[in-house]
């Protein structure tokens, strides 16, 4: 529970600054700092347990059935990071109080900052990889908000977008990697994953996992070649740079390396990828940092370089190197955060960050200058400061590695070069800013900052000094437990003494310091040399790339969708064919099974009719009314086929739908030209369409044949066995519709109702000319409603309704049911429109079809809900048998009521569609009030 509070108090803290908005600036800062302070206290209360090597975990069940739990885990590594996040976070809150001006929206800033803090805590305290990834993405988003805090500045918006794109890309890679790990190991829980290193390393997915996870880590930690977002993120307010871009967020990447170190490291691939990237980043960052004129630019590249150093250490595949990396994480966080804060103070009090203008500030702000110089010395690795210790360990470790054989000496040499460059830019930071003559045209006269603005810097510098002077006492236990958690094993013996005697690492340090001084002294030549290169602005390139992607996407879309339906339809059909053809080409079974199928004359006749009807529909499609006749021939054959193959329900439905569909199509045709104009498609398009259509037909025919000749167990036996006992009916098809799969049916009548209402809406406001002559130019017959039809249809109506009631009632046991009865009723009613005309029917029939649909749907819904009152699931049916005199034994079932709903919906929908369509041909057409 403590762990839970520790992790989630900051999340609540996000709203605190907003609530405290009305108070003064110091009060807002105070209230904001409260919850993180509580978290930090909670964290420290676990300190001794963690130092003893305990792993404290806490799980809260969430969706247990999916194995999703809220999982928190605190071990040495997590403790170290949580301390950095909360501790430096609190210092940054204090610092920002003085850094932000009156005009800045302070509560918004603090809110974002705490959001970031919560996200970062979530990353380090997660005991589940997916959960960790979630928080990981949250850090990207909150970092976006923080970088773009001064959103009136174009560079801030661009920098934020660049950072989000790069880290977001990495985040997606990480997710893929994490999922692969989960698939390989079978769990996303960190405890399991960390102990499954051998399983992961031997898995065939290992290369993919490693590359994806490393992409996530490298983009976040600004490793070469993904480093370019970090310098642009310097558009953020300096407290953000101090917090996110030196101490925490960019450390998330190396945290990931440390966290998954037991699971992923130890292979040559790890060594090559991680070490090479780290080394390149180390050198590139250090070299570029020397040439920066912007104070924060220098620090940003120096951060990149130090992150490269940490990455390099993790890549060496040596336990001690991993411990050294963890040590350097601590040291870098302290000196770099204090340097950023110092740079912020200089910027704040002198109005510039340009090192060409800032000179000789020592006279104006001696205390700040001293603090910054100590921190910069720690960065350079000067003895008696913390940076020296981890740099010595780094040198010792690169000397020890032998993985790349004879050229292993290259790594220590390059490491020394990197360290020399580091000394050079540290020296430049100190000498250019604080000495080196007088300031040049600064906007304001520099002076010391407010007292409390300097406190965070003082605290951090004091840590640098203390760790540097008494390493074993101050940091020993923390480093030991963090190192142990990182390598998931006992930490090898190491000594945190300052003096190890005269050895090679010390010599390397010496060379680095001397080399750094030499580089700095010859800086004029170097600057001239560097000026001959073109500078690359990553932000501009990024904009260009984004623009090109947009143009490319536009082109692709324009190619797929050029506004022509035919083209889209062709692509869709071709794609469907592709999707079908791939699996079907893998079915190896030949068509041999055909040999033992019998020949039945009626089937052959029917099939020939169907084939001829289909082809004729195509051939005469330009003469539309004939094509319609051919089409209805196909429909008729289909209904006969259903009847022949033991599906009476289907046959009845098909015949009835045939009737309404033909009426519908005839009504439609009434408003259309009677012939299709000659095609504009051209012979090539024609051939293309024929080819595609026939291939699809061939594939579908083959699938059909495979399906028919392949017999497998089906679930249907269940329905047949339970129809009578469970559903109380003998017509299995109907029982499936209204009982077993009642929920499906309900959805289907809902769709039917929606379609009908949609059509009703589309008919309104439709303006179409009423045709007065037929295709041959003859006037319509004067006798619109022939006498015989009128009389016969009128007397047929009650009979048809009676039959429909009969079909409806028997549906549960014999062919029939709501769908069929509804269609019969609809057909009989439409016949009245035919025989008597719209006005005659309207005068006599007051049924509002919309309400018929709605009541049908309501009946179905309420029938479904009724069982809930008796504690049964939705749509449970009830049935029982009763005996009445005269009638005899009969059955009552709730499914019948449900079927009534189906019936009403079908009648309502069909009538709503056809009657309104029919009315369009008369002056009774649907009228809508013009607004």
């Amino acid at each position: 529970m403590k762990l839970f509070l520790l992790c989630f108090l900051p999340i609540i803290g996000v709203i605190v600054p907003i609530l405290a908005k009305g108070f003064g600036r110091s009060q807002i800062a105070f209230f904001t700092a409260l919850l993180p302070s509580v978290s930090l206290a909670l964290l420290f209360s676990e300190m001794f347990a963690v130092f003893d090597g305990a792993v404290i975990s806490h799980q809260i069940a969430w969706v247990s059935s999916l194995g999703l739990n809220l999982s928190l885990r605190l071990d040495g590594l997590a403790f170290l990071f949580a301390t950095l996040i909360l501790g430096i976070g609190l210092l940054v809150i204090l610092y920002a109080r003085y850094y932000l001006s009156e005009r800045d929206n302070m509560s918004r800033f603090y809110s974002y900052l705490i959001l970031f803090m919560a996200a970062m805590l979530g990353v380090v305290l997660s005991g589940n990889l997916i959960q960790m990834w979630f928080f990981w993405e949250m850090t990207s988003i909150s970092s976006f908000l923080l970088i773009s805090f001064w959103n009136h500045k174009s560079e801030a918006r661009k920098g934020a977008r660049l950072a989000l794109t790069v880290t977001g890309f990495g985040g997606l890679c990480l997710l893929a990697g994490v999922i692969l790990i989960g698939e390989t190991v079978g769990s996303y829980e960190l405890d399991v994953v960390l102990n499954a290193g051998d399983l992961i390393r031997t898995s065939s997915y290992y290369p993919q996992i490693l590359i994806l996870v490393l992409l996530g880590a490298f983009t976040k930690s600004a490793q070469f070649p993904f480093h370019f977002w970090l310098p642009h993120a310097m558009a953020a307010p300096t407290p953000v740079s101090a917090y996110l871009h030196s101490a925490t967020m960019v450390k998330a990447g190396v945290f990931l390396l440390a966290r998954l170190y037991p699971a992923l490291s130890g292979t040559d691939m790890w060594f090559v990828l991680v070490t090479t990237t780290g080394l390149m980043t180390l050198l590139y960052g250090a070299y570029t940092a020397v040439f920066q004129h912007d104070l924060k630019g220098l620090l940003a590249y120096s951060t990149i370089s130090h992150l490269g150093l940490i990455t390099l250490l993790f890549g060496l595949n040596r336990d001690m190197a991993a411990v050294a990396a963890v040590f350097h994480i601590i040291n870098h966080a302290t000196f770099k955060a204090s340097l950023f804060m110092g740079a912020g103070i200089i910027d704040h009090e002198s109005g510039s960050r340009d090192m060409r203008k800032l000179n000789g500030l020592y006279r104006y702000m001696p205390i700040t200058a001293t603090l910054a110089m100590v921190a910069a010395a720690a960065m350079a690795g000067v003895p008696l400061l913390n940076g020296f210790l981890s740099k010595e360990m780094f040198f010792a470790e690169v000397l020890e590695q032998r993985t790349i054989g004879a050229i292993s000496w290259l790594i220590p040499v390059l490491a020394t070069v990197g360290a020399a460059l580091s000394v050079a830019y540290s020296l430049r930071f100190i000498h250019d800013v604080f000495f080196n003559g007088e300031p040049r045209d600064l906007p304001k006269t520099p002076h010391e900052p407010p007292r409390y603005m300097r406190v965070p810097v003082e605290v951090l510098v004091a840590i640098c000094l203390l760790v540097g002077a008494f390493p074993a006492f101050t940091i020993g236990a923390l480093l030991n437990s963090a190192g142990q958690a990182t390598i998931n094993n006992a930490v090898p013996e190491f000594s945190l003494a300052i003096w190890h005697g005269f050895n090679i690492p010390l010599l390397m340090s010496f060379i680095a310091i001397v080399g750094g001084v030499l580089i700095y002294m010859s800086r004029k030549h170097l600057f001239r040399f560097q000026a001959s290169f073109q500078t690359i602005n990553a932000s501009e390139i990024f904009d260009k790339v984004i623009h090109q992607i947009q143009c490319g996407a536009q082109k692709v879309i324009g190619w797929i969708d050029n506004g022509s339906y035919q083209r889209s339809a062709f692509i869709l059909a071709a794609f469907a064919l592709l999707m079908l053809a791939i699996p079907i080409s893998k079915i190896s079974e030949p068509l041999e099974r055909l040999a033992h199928t019998n020949v039945e004359i009626p089937v052959i006749v029917g099939c020939i009719l169907l084939i001829l009807g289909s082809i004729a529909t195509v051939l005469v499609s330009h003469q539309r009314i004939i094509a319609l006749a051919m089409l209805s021939l196909v429909g008729l054959v289909v209904s006969i086929a259903f009847n022949y193959y033991s599906a009476p329900d289907l046959a009845l439905t098909q015949v009835l739908v045939e009737v309404v569909a033909v009426i519908l199509l005839l009504l439609t045709l009434y408003f259309f030209p009677q012939t299709t104009p000659s095609s504009t498609t051209g012979p090539a398009g024609f051939a293309r369409d024929i080819l595609l259509a026939s291939t699809i037909g061939a594939v579908i025919g083959t699938v059909c044949l495979l399906m028919l000749t392949y017999h497998s167990e089906s679930v249907s036996q269940f329905y047949i066995d339970n129809a009578k006992t469970g559903g109380g009916g003998t017509n299995v098809v109907n029982v499936i519709l209204v009982d077993f799969r009642g929920f499906d049916t309900m959805g289907e009548i809902l769709v039917l109702g929606i379609a009908a209402l949609g059509i009703y809406k589309l008919i309104a406001r439709m303006r179409l000319s009423i045709r007065t002559r037929d295709a041959q130019g003859r006037l319509w017959s004067e006798d619109k409603h022939p006498m015989i039809l009128s009389v016969v249809s009128q007397s047929l109506l009650p009979l048809a309704l009676l039959i429909s009631a009969y079909i409806f009632l028997r549906g549960h046991n014999l062919p029939g049911g709501g769908f069929i009865a509804g269609l019969i009723t609809a057909v009989a009613m439409i016949l009245q429109y035919f025989a008597h005309g719209v006005s005659w029917v309207i005068a006599r029939n007051k049924i509002v079809y919309q309400s018929l649909i709605v009541s049908g749907l309501m009946i179905a819904l309420l029938t479904g809900m009724a069982p809930l009152f008796w504690g049964y699931p939705f749509l449970t049916t009830w049935f029982d048998y009763f005996t009445l005199p005269v009638i005899g034994k009969f059955e009552l079932t709730s499914a019948l009521v449900f079927d009534l709903g189906v019936y009403l919906t079908v009648v309502g929908s069909t009538m709503l569609i056809l009657s309104n369509l029919g009315k369009l041909t008369t002056n009774q057409r649907l009228k809508v009030k013009e607004r």
Partner: protein, 117 residues
């Protein structure tokens, strides 16, 4: 008989797809209807083709599969609603654009270059 049935389904599908690739709305509706027939027969066939044994519980042993029948039954009714919707859309398009071409206007010949001034 399976081969005959399959050929019929294949031909109906091919004709339906071909009509659906045409350029005029009414032809499209015809194609849609034809394709629905083919699809319904296809779905129906997934239960196997059996004669003389409707899925009514009684004295006869049932061989026919009731499940595809139930699926196809609703498919037929929904198919009608869909056809109706397509019809109305075609009519509406004609009423708005005065044309029954699928794109609302006579398409520039797509086999030649599409960029016209």
């Amino acid at each position: 008989m399976e081969i005959w049935f399959s050929v019929a389904v294949g031909v109906a599908t091919a004709c339906g797809v071909f009509l659906m690739l045409r350029a005029h709305t009414f032809t499209l509706v015809l194609g849609l209807t034809l394709l629905s027939y083919a699809v319904n027969l296809f779905l129906f066939a997934s239960g196997g083709l059996t004669t003389d044994s409707a899925a009514i519980l009684g004295d006869k042993a049932i061989n026919s599969d009731p499940l595809p029948q139930a699926l196809v039954l609703t498919a037929i009714v929904i198919g009608f609603a869909m056809t109706a919707f397509a019809c109305i859309q075609a009519m509406r398009a004609r009423s708005e654009s005065g044309h029954d071409h699928v794109d609302g206007k006579e398409q520039r010949d797509i086999s030649t270059k599409t960029e016209t001034p």
